[in-house]
């Protein structure tokens, strides 16, 4: 999940300033928080104690932003966990000879890194059996230390920052790929599928953008692609014409930009204004529908990557059950659904809901979930995690290929045609960017 890079702490800071100036605004912000709290609390007291003789209650925690700018994504994840928990209860699973009633305890971390450890401690105190979350890498990383110390397993379905599993924590897992797998994947697509020979690379000088661009550069070089320019801008810039003009002088046939849509969109637009015909590729930060708004028709044909599989590729059983209950899948729900199911499956295998007992089972699990086959490596990362390549088509980012363990699988019939025709598509973009009459 890239949203953490927008800097939630800064956002909160701004909100506080705004709240200080405009009291009314601050008050309205409080309401959803209060509303969310009672919804979560009923689960907590029910959590620790067994309810009846032959049935026990096992609580699974979920944490994510349920208020704020990306609350819709947090709610989507919560629904995924909720679905898994309800399905497991309906199956009347027996653990230790007793029928288990699974319940979810959901907490709002507001996408705030400072709240991560607080929420984590809350779960530890409530003695939940396991946690699915958090949504943002920035929140998951500080929270992971608390979970690890308490020996409580945590599975995130969306935190992509490599650091999360690089801390050597035994209880931290993720069902989604890592940022450092994304760069190689999009680079592999550029080199092997688009078959570009001269590529210019730019980034926004943030940890995310620069890291991604470096990975892409490394992989492209290894694949024998010539890097004709390596430029930098910043995440607040609006004028990219200087670096684009420089790139134009090296006549690249492809340009990769590591950065968010707010800078990627204008860059793409300005490139077409300058008459640059090269194909454009981006990472997940600029893999949004917003690109079409910001760049207009110039965005058509751009390539971008995201960690994981596209929502429409999740298993049919999951998609049907989810849409019947909650409506459309937004983004990471299948990964969170799998996260909850992995916890439950490991508990079944160990025949215990005690984290200390089922953790070894979770580590060596082999499970077929909504997002495909899941196994963890020794760090807790998903083995052979998929990366998806998207392309802007008619104003929508549509999946065109899935890259897994270096192998590319194309999606859909027409995607196949368009992907193989991509080198030819670059010159074909020219009329769209030149003075084409558009509205």
């Amino acid at each position: 999940m890239h949203a953490h890079r927008i800097g939630p702490s800064r956002a909160i800071g701004l909100t506080l300033v705004a709240a200080a100036i405009f009291g009314a605004y601050g008050c309205s912000k409080e309401e959803p928080k209060k509303a969310a709290a009672p919804a979560a609390t009923p689960a907590a007291p029910a959590a620790p104690a067994p309810v009846a003789e032959e049935s026990v209650t096992v609580t699974i925690g979920h944490a994510g932003p349920l208020t704020g700018g990306i609350a819709h994504l947090g709610k989507d994840d919560e629904n995924g966990v909720h679905l898994a928990v309800d399905e497991a209860t309906a199956k009347k699973i027996k653990i230790g000879g007793k029928t288990v009633k699974f319940v979810m305890m959901s907490e709002d971390d507001q996408a705030d890194p400072k709240l991560g450890p607080t929420i984590a401690q809350k779960f530890v105190d409530a003695k939940v059996a396991g946690v699915v979350g958090h949504l943002n890498s920035g929140v998951s990383i500080p929270a992971s230390a608390v979970y690890n110390q308490a020996g409580l397993p945590m599975i995130s379905g969306s935190a992509t920052n490599p650091k999360l599993t690089e801390q050597g924590f035994k209880t931290i897992f993720r069902t989604v790929g890592r940022d450092d797998q994304q760069g190689p994947a999009v680079a592999a697509y550029i080199a092997n599928e688009l078959k570009l020979k001269k590529v210019a690379i730019a980034d926004d000088a943030t940890a995310y953008g620069e890291g991604l661009a470096n990975e892409v550069e490394k992989t492209l070089k290894a694949a024998g692609v010539q890097i004709v320019a390596r430029e930098k801008t910043n995440d607040k810039a609006t004028d990219f014409k200087a670096i684009l003009t420089k790139m134009k002088g090296r006549s690249p046939d492809g340009i990769f930009y590591g950065g968010m849509d707010a800078t990627g969109g204008p860059m793409l637009k300005q490139a077409r204004e300058l008459g640059i015909k090269a194909a454009f590729a981006f990472g997940d930060g600029a893999c949004t529908a917003e690109m079409n708004k910001l760049a207009g028709p110039a965005s058509e044909g751009m390539i971008c990557s995201q960690a994981g599989i596209p929502t429409q590729m999740a298993s049919k059983a999951f998609t049907d059950a989810f849409t019947a209950k909650y409506g459309e899948v937004k983004q990471y729900a299948p990964f969170f659904y799998d996260g909850a199911n992995l916890l439950i499956a490991a508990m079944q295998k160990a025949d215990s809901s005690d984290p200390a007992k089922y953790l070894p089972e979770l580590q060596k699990i082999s499970y077929d979930g909504a997002t495909g086959h899941i196994e963890f490596d020794e760090k807790g990362d998903r083995k052979d995690a998929e990366m998806t390549i998207f392309q802007m088509k008619g104003g929508k980012v549509e999946p065109i290929a899935i890259i897994k363990a270096g192998k590319t699988t194309k999606i859909g019939g027409d995607a196949q045609a368009s992907a193989s025709a991509a080198p030819a598509a670059a010159p074909a973009m020219a009329p769209a960017m030149a003075p084409a009459p558009k509205k």
């Binding site: 956002a11 701004l14 300033v17 705004a18 100036i21 405009f22 605004y25 700018g69 000088a205 070089k221 890097i227 320019a229 390596r230 430029e231 930098k232 801008t233 910043n234 607040k236 810039a237 609006t238 004028d239 014409k241 200087a242 670096i243 003009t245 420089k246 134009k248 002088g249 707010a262 969109g265 204008p266 637009k269 300005q270 204004e273 300058l274 008459g275 917003e290 708004k293 910001l294 760049a295 207009g296 030149a434 003075p435 084409a436 009459p437 558009k438 509205k439």
Partner: protein, 389 residues
Amino acid sequence: MKTAPAGAVFVSGPAGTGVMRPAWRARPRIEQCPLPAPAIHRTIRHRFGNLLRERLDIFLQQLVNGLTLGSVYAIVALGYTMVYGIIQLINFAHGEVVMIGAMVALTVINALVGANLGWPPLAIVVAGVLVAVPVCMAIGYALERVAYRPLRRAPRLAPLITAIGLSIILQHVALIIFSRNPLSFPQIIPIVSYHVTDNVEGARITNVQIAIIGTSIAMMAGLVALIYRTKLGIAMRATSQSAQVAGLMGIDINRVIALTFVIGAALAAVAGVMVGTYYGIAQYQMGFLLGLKAFSAAVLGGIGNIAGAMLGGLLLGVIEALGAGYVGDLTNLCQIAHWSAAIAERCVSDPNLTLFGSNYQDVFAFFVLIAVLVFRPSGLLGERVSDRA
């Protein structure tokens, strides 16, 4: 004494933008027509062949980019320099006025596009400007009336801090009204690009760039005419020389100062719309860096000096474009690879090994600013008292 600086302004405008002239002439023509190449260009091409021609095209393109950016800086810088000239206050909220101009115009343009009235695109943009200008004028007036006038006799630091405070308040008002997300400026005017030389693949100038440069020059000319040819201008110059004496001569100083703010805000509003339509994006923070650079431009040219602000703006834009375009290559360590084995080794794997890359784009302008100020502390065009307005 009156006309000399005005003349200088007129020269610095078209002379600086000389490259673009052929493109203006070609405006009525349909795009992609080769333009008459200047004679010098032709000789150069004959002598040095394609390589240089390509390089020249890139250079011209950077110049076009820089001049467009520079004319926006110039317009914003005028707002800083006018206010400084008249009350020696640095109005740090000026950048935010630009942002509000862009946001208001964006809202109006979006509403008009949504209403689908069948207006021509240009009329919609003009309508956006016509709404943004009075709104910004009102804000400019309010800033002066509410925040600066009560502090006019206070120590100089007080209004400066107030200005910074106002800038933060305006930013956050915009944050609340227009959200934190970057908003896309609807691109209703189809972009037509003309190539400046006879190379179809070469340097281009778009209709929007021509419009920005043209509007800026027209506004600068209008402002100069206002300051040197009207009664209000005389009053402004008198107030800038000595507010006290001007008051004794029967000039309503409060009115003159308020009008200075209002005129600066109007220019800022137009600049906001230009930036918005040029980049196609508007955000509540966009005024900060723009304001800072325009302020630097004003200092570069000599703060308080109208012609200086224009010259400083254009220079800053060009320096920035050329800096980002060329310093990376000029400081490429691989050029001196034969000096050091260590460098040579790294250049094998990374031929783009540079000391200063384009990430220093925002810094070049300030390097130049410092360099100029070391040798000319009062800026390029100095601070001749008579030039102040």
